[in-house]
Amino acid sequence: MNAPFDWIALAEFALIGVFSGGLLALIALGFVLIYKGTGVINFAMGEFMMLGAYFFYTSHVMWKLPMWLSLALTLAAVAAVAALIERAILRPLAGQPVISILMATIGLASALHGVVDAVWGGNNYEMPPLLPRKAFTFGEILIPGQVVWSFILAALIITAFTLYFRYSRTGIAMRAAASDPMTAYVLGIDVRRTQRLTWMFAGVVGAVAGIVVGSMTSLSPALGGAALGVLAVIILGGLDSIAGAIVAGLIIGVIESLTAGYLGGKVRDIVPYVTVLLILLVKPYGLFGTRQIERL
């Protein structure tokens, strides 16, 4: 019983958690983009990830296209699907109660999941590893290479998006449309275009995350459910804050990694959901979210 506490293991779990949190933050970014743009949680986010991973698998492994080309094709295809969804489902529902739009994305998730299942079947596919596997060592601590590289990739993408929203003309227009569509519209911003772009960006972010997750584990329709676990991240971060998504991604990553390390993998599956419930009870608008003030 008196075995010395293994600080190295704790540090290792924590570091793995921090690094895997990058990917969580990336998926959370997809949620936050759509929440800011259209005011709903997109329950079909996991299905975007799934589509991305399957498209990439098809073009890279089955058609044997070079990696950069299949990546470009995948991103273009998912962006096209996202734009189509925005046009066909979200635009007709504009102005409807939040519950309706929310349920539409749930229906969409179910339909996309079914399509993937019908086209590719329920089998597991092995994706080729995309990120270098060579482990990083920090003293005695060993971190799998894929985890570190996925963190770096996620950090790059999130930084790119942040810069884009801050400095580019379209990015500023998107922020304006997100914060007040009516005023933005009056000022001559094409709100429909920004909404479409929002969905396309979210689709692209989801696809990249899906490809990375798929290459680190394996490819099956279960991938679609992975994004639901990220709900913990966006709730903790506050639905409308990119900074919140990053911080919360890292926190949830550490929590997941620690529970997986000390309590076993089974418990890990529900950790995000227990966390969500606790956050909602204690701090419903998250760490950085805008507190909603309701008026009559």
Partner: protein
Amino acid sequence: MRIRDFHQSYAHDEAIWQTPTSRLWLAALFIALLLFPFTANGYIVGLACVLGIHVIGAAGLNIMTGYTGLISLGHAAFMGVGCYTAAWLGQRGLPFYLTIPLGGLVAALLGLVVGIPSLRIKGLYLAVATLAMQFILVFVFREWESVTGGVRGVNVPNAELFGIELNNDFRMYYVIAFFAVLLLVGARNLFRTRIGRAFIAIRDKDISAEVLGINLFRYKLLAFAIGSFYAGVAGALLGYFYRAMTPEYFTLTLSIFYLAAVIVGGLGTMLGTILGAVFMTLVPELLRAVVSFIAQWAPRAVEVLSPMQEIVFGLLIVGFLVFEPHGLVEIWRRVRRFFHLWPFRA
């Protein structure tokens, strides 16, 4: 043309069945429900049993989501709670007419607990909270093996009434029909009381409702409890009907099935609940028939049956939200209005 429908008292105005004709049809419906199993074959009776259970479950969700505006993605998990409670009590010798309501009660108690955050959070946040609850409860079903039997599932003893074993679909049909009629009439009447009207006020604008003197906390919790009670009863009946249950039955897919049923039927109407549940129960059966028909030429078709079901459910939800947001009930009303006003134009 509709005639003799002139309301002269409040009681008449509030009555559910307002004309002699509708009361006549109601009586005919009850007789048809009673006699139906004698005329149908085993498959149809079994289908009717499932249908009755789905109607009860969908009614619970409609009370929560359709009438009170509290969206729930965890409805299936509450059915599971009812089912496991009934199974556990049934194995200890309690008769089914106690275990089924008790299953509902335990689900309702749990619903109260889950409903507590609903005062602070709503809309999206509540959807996420109930989704979390869905996953947590299924996890509990899988892991709490001493009660739920884990992934292997649990056996539910046969229901028995006056020494008769209710061990086939034909006999279970009457149990299910009894509960379905009782709970539906109860739900319909609920919305003629202060409680029901409070629910509707909360749905339409909760802050206004509070200003009008409705205790939000109490009524939101009550809505959760009632909705979960219905889910629990439906789950318990499901257990007695299938006699064995595994956690895999009560997953998110079933929750979405109920959500689809309520949306397709019509949020906030009991007729919509029935129409939606019937529709959503028959769609998979129809799909199965179509697929087995196609499978004569393309044997692979059977493999895509379950994904096809997901696609169709998803498209139905989206399609109804976009094109017919008031659901099947609105279509039914349009048809009825046409005949009421005929030969004049609606």
